[in-house]
């Protein structure tokens, strides 16, 4: 699978990561699936509910998830991934990320060293839950719908 992001989505994730630094920023990625391509259509930025350890943890609770899912449903979209930032850490999943991961979803991680957005990578959980595999991100120009 490859995750397709438009430039504006990538920019929005970077801005969110910088704005919430030094806390972790998080949100859901809504989109559609076309063969081996997960195509991002809309981002749902969410409030990190881990107020106790927001610098190194993020949490999207089931109520927020459900609300976001219902919103995406109305637009005919589904949750295809999750994004979160790693303040002062590389864009590599931690063991904690893996232990709490859902299969199939794309986990987009943004490294935010010293408050500046850096690398953006996407990962998916292997079927046996043993590892996170990096998946490719395809950055695309916005398609103009009426052409």
């Amino acid at each position: 699978m490859t995750l397709v992001l438009e430039l504006r989505h990538a920019t929005a994730i970077r801005r969110h990561g910088e704005a919430d630094y030094p806390a972790e920023a998080c949100g859901l990625i809504g989109g559609t699936v076309d063969g081996a391509r997960k195509i991002t259509v809309a981002l749902v930025p969410l409030v990190n509910q881990r107020t106790d350890a927001a610098r190194n943890r993020y949490l999207i609770d089931p109520v927020s998830f459900r609300r976001a899912q219902e919103r995406l449903d109305r637009d005919g979209l589904e949750v295809i991934g999750v994004y979160h930032s790693h303040p002062d850490h590389p864009a590599v999943p931690s063991t904690f990320d893996r232990e709490h991961a859902w299969p199939w979803l794309s986990y987009v991680i943004l490294g935010v060293p010293r408050g500046h957005a850096a690398e953006l990578k996407s990962w998916t959980l292997s079927d046996d839950r043993a590892a996170f595999d990096e998946e490719s991100i395809t950055l695309e120009e916005r398609k103009v719908v009426w052409q």
């Binding site: 881990r50 943890r57 089931p62 459900r66 589904e78 790693h86 002062d88 931690s94 299969p103």
Partner: protein
């Protein structure tokens, strides 16, 4: 007849891409079991290796989280809709956030480290944790010892008392050598000896409405080991206002109670007891006595629940009240509901800041007893002059057996109203008890019955033993 199970997108590949499946089952547990039996690959995503539902898998029956119902035992009926809703969590490696363990600590905590629910990460959580114990007495003693031994990094202690010999029967953190010393000094020395890795922060003060928020704010969890109602309501309200869990324990004679009051996730102390009992109705340990082992059991439960909260392990005692009866050796459990009208943690709280808890508990509003009390020395002198003086001991017979004043008549307080006929209303009367509280109640009863010359012995038989007759044992 089947139940509809809504499948979230990440799990759809395991059920043939469908967004809903039909499953026949009588309970949520059976439903999940059948679902993952039919779709084997689903199992490892729903259940952890130990067979428990993974923490980030949320199951809703219609619109309610099954954790608010009967968890996996929740019954389901045909036509119900069960939704599996993800919660999504993650973050950077914990290494930076949690303190590291030294070689000495790894050796010291080895029996924890090999426990799957603790492990290195759990032990580091314990080291990072800050727990406040209100009271270094009967409950605080075992709680502090076990928390220190377990490696809780910072223990705060609030107490302003001095170690008394009568404490040693149950307050095992203190010793004969520290009698007369401040409890904080005694407890700190014992904790240091037990585990020098623990940082002890002491607050030598009574917890008050003025200082409670500032003291509690800096801690993660509060363990309440207080022995009086004003402080108990104060600790509860402060914890609710600050959003901290309050690990509660209380003891009386042969019975104890424990619960975890955490308003974010369940009821608080006021949901259970909206109003304090009238002053004097529930005797303190000093008045009523307590079996020395009992606080050891209840205080240890408090330590255990505190550790479980820190680790996030097991099922915390939130929304449950454990009642322990030492004589029957019986634990009972009551389910506690959050009171939506609770004045502190309800939906429209009327208490939004700390109040005057002495007044709330009806203390300080007692009538003045000026002139109604007599000291031990005065009583001795007067009794020698006036042989006709009637001294009434209003304690219980088993107390009388420990020590009594020669010549005093034993009429337990509870029997007094029925035995007024035995008394001569023309004689001067002095009532006495252990420390001088019950004898004031007796004085009220006698005055109400028309006795005019009644006084109460200030400080009770204890003052008599100290000032008049040192041959009597004190208790």
């Amino acid at each position: 007849m089947a139940v509809t199970v809504l499948i979230p997108t990440p799990l759809r590949p395991y059920v043939g891409g469908r967004d809903a499946v039909q499953v026949e089952a009588a309970s949520i547990g059976e439903l999940l079991d059948r679902l993952s039996g039919e779709h084997i690959a689903l199992r490892k995503h729903l259940f952890a290796d130990d067979g428990r539902l993974r923490s980030f898998v949320n199951v809703y029956l219609n619109d309610r989280d099954i954790r608010q119902l009967s968890a996996q035992e929740t019954p389901v009926r045909s036509g119900d809709t069960v939704s599996i809703i993800p919660s999504i969590a993650g973050g950077t490696a914990v290494a930076e956030a949690l303190p590291k363990l030294s070689h000495e600590e790894i050796l010291r905590y080895s029996r924890h480290l090999i426990l799957p629910d603790v492990g290195v990460e759990g032990q580091r959580k314990l080291k990072a944790a800050r727990v406040l114990l209100v009271g270094a007495g009967g409950l605080g003693s075992p709680a502090a010892l076990y928390l220190a031994a377990a490696g809780v990094g910072t223990i705060g202690l609030v107490d302003f008392d001095v170690v008394d010999k009568t404490n040693l029967q149950r307050q095992i953190i203190h010793g004969t050598a520290t009698v007369g010393k401040p409890k904080l000094e005694s407890a700190t020395a014992r904790i240091r000896d037990l585990n020098p890795n623990v940082r002890v922060e002491t607050f030598e003060t009574r917890l008050t409405s003025e200082n409670a928020l500032d003291i509690i704010r800096d801690f993660d969890i509060v363990a309440d080991g207080t022995d009086n109602f004003p402080t108990r309501y104060l600790v509860n309200d402060a914890c609710v206002l600050l959003g901290k869990p309050n690990v509660y324990g209380s003891i009386f004679r042969f019975e104890g109670q424990a619960s975890v009051f955490y308003a974010k996730a369940g009821p608080c102390y006021r949901c259970l007891y909206a109003e304090p009992p009238p002053p004097g109705l529930v005797p303190s340990c000093a008045e009523g006595g307590v079996l020395g082992v009992l606080p050891g059991i209840i205080g240890s439960i408090q330590a255990m629940e505190t550790i479980k909260l820190i680790l996030g392990a097991g099922e915390p005692l939130i929304g449950r009240l454990v009642l322990f009866d030492a004589l029957k050796l019986q634990f009972r459990e009551l389910k506690l509901e959050k009171d939506p009208d609770c004045p502190v943690c309800g939906s429209h709280p009327s208490v939004t800041e700390l109040i005057d808890y002495e007044a709330f508990c009806g203390i300080g509003a007692e009538p003045s007893y000026d002139g109604a009390e007599i000291t031990a020395q005065e009583l001795k002198a007067e009794w020698e002059r006036d042989q006709d003086l009637l001294v009434i001991d209003v304690r219980e017979p088993h107390e009388y057996e420990i020590a009594h004043i020669d010549g005093a008549v034993l009429i337990p307080l509870g029997e007094l109203p029925d035995r007024l006929g035995e008394l001569d209303g023309h004689r001067a009367v002095v009532t006495h008890c252990h420390h001088g509280a019950r004898s004031l109640k007796a004085l009220e009863i006698l005055k109400a019955a028309g006795f005019s010359k009644v006084r109460s012995l200030r400080g009770g038989i204890d003052a008599w033993a100290v000032n008049v007759d040192p041959s009597l044992p004190r208790y």
